[in-house]
């Protein structure tokens, strides 16, 4: 693990190295070098399995974080590659040439976050949301409660209790 980290630190300008566990480390790198780093890890360091490709919306920093988690089935270590892209343009290099299922992940990210991956197969086809016409639902400025109330006929009479207050009232009514 250490040797791999030191090696990619020299080659790919990685920063912000977080050691989560003995067998799991997350590194951050520049957007332009992310796919190159993933390719290097896959082909040279034998991280042959992509565990997931996901995104986080950092609306305060006006950025999307994209994370690739790779696994080496022989030495049983994981490595996470993190990169930040601009939230307005929201374009990232496609990595579908490395694993076929990356195209599906990218299709999902395109639908849920509006991140574009030019050249990725079937990127514009709908994945889960058929005929969605609002802003992508995983963006943090999308008000899911408001959308649900406007769209799905909420049943009246639904309330909620603060559990602590409710149990206090129920168990100790005289206090």
């Amino acid at each position: 693990m250490e040797t791999i980290i030191n090696d990619i630190k020299a080659r790919f300008e990685v920063s912000d190295i977080t050691k989560q566990r003995d067998n799991f480390t997350i590194v951050t790198c520049k957007k332009e070098l992310a796919v190159a780093l993933v390719t290097h890890l896959k082909d040279v360091e034998k991280f042959s399995h992509l565990v997931l490709l996901s995104a986080v919306d950092w609306i305060e920093d006006n950025k999307f974080q994209i994370t690739y988690i790779l696994n080496n089935p022989d030495s049983r270590i994981d490595i996470g590659v993190r990169t930040f892209i601009d939230r307005e343009t929201a374009t990232m290099d496609s990595a579908h040439h490395l694993w076929e299922h990356v195209a599906t992940y990218q299709r999902e990210l395109h639908e849920m976050y509006g991140i574009n991956f030019p050249g990725s197969p079937r990127i514009n086809e709908s994945f889960i949301l058929e005929g969605w016409d609002d802003i992508p639902p995983m963006l943090r400025n999308f008000n899911t409660k408001q959308y649900s109330e406007d769209t799905f006929f909420p049943r009246p009479g639904r309330g909620s209790n603060d559990p602590a207050e409710y149990m206090k009232k129920k168990l100790y009514p005289n206090e």
Partner: protein, 223 residues
């Protein structure tokens, strides 16, 4: 919708094209295969027959509930134990069927995404009437824990008529058996008129369905 065009171009189906066929005796006739699959006719209300016959028919319907094998949410995992020896729903005349055209009951087992609702509506409309709907879990009643989700419906009874609700999250197979018993009582009392209700309030149901299914690329009614 550019998506739909893409998909149609990708999987062109020659079998669905209009064509002229020459019969074995040399007679030419036109066929439109879509007509064999879909219908644009509205569903009709089927009035009950006279009291005695209807009572007998309802008894027969109630004692032989054929359930469509269609799982929508987490509740579909309750169906296998229901049919296997521990709970053994066959005792109550309940059995699973593979296709909508053979079944009389559809179980909506839990949360329903908009994408699944589209398939539910197609399956429901293909079932021969009289047909019954058993809604399982709190998600079908008021949205349950997905009440504020952008992609799951809140009230099932706005999209298809529901006969029996089984509350719980998730209800156990015993509760489901109790739900079947209640459905039987309802059918025997002559109240299982969901299919007629669907036909009567067809425009209201279609309006609600089309409000949330934005890419309506299927016929208005299919049997």
């Amino acid at each position: 919708m550019s998506n739909i065009d893409n998909i149609e171009n990708k999987f062109p189906n020659k079998d669905f094209e209009r064509r002229t066929v020459i019969g074995p005796d040399g007679v030419k006739f036109e066929i439109d295969p879509i007509d064999d699959y879909f219908s644009d006719a509205r569903p009709k209300v089927i009035a009950p027959k006279n009291k005695v016959i209807e009572k007998f028919l309802n008894w027969a319907r109630a004692e032989s509930l054929w359930v469509l094998g269609f799982g929508t949410g987490c509740g579909s995992i309750e169906i296998p134990p229901l049919m296997t020896p521990r709970f053994d729903a066959f005792r109550f005349g309940v059995q699973m069927r593979a296709t909508p055209r053979q079944s009389s009951v559809i179980i909506i087992s839990g949360y329903l995404a908009v994408k699944t609702l589209k398939r539910v509506i197609r399956s429901y409309e293909q079932m021969p009437s009289p047909k019954y709907v058993l809604a399982l879990g709190s998600c079908t009643i008021n949205g349950g824990m997905y009440w504020d989700s952008y992609n799951t419906i809140n009230r099932l009874d706005h999209y298809i008529p529901v006969d029996v609700y089984v509350a719980g999250c998730m209800p156990r197979p015993e509760a489901l058996l109790a739900g079947f018993e209640k459905l039987k009582k309802r059918i025997k009392a002559g109240n299982g008129e969901g299919a007629n209700e669907y036909a009567e309030k067809f425009d209201w149901y279609k309006g609600n369905q089309k409000k949330i299914i934005k890419d309506w690329n299927m016929p208005d009614y299919n049997w």
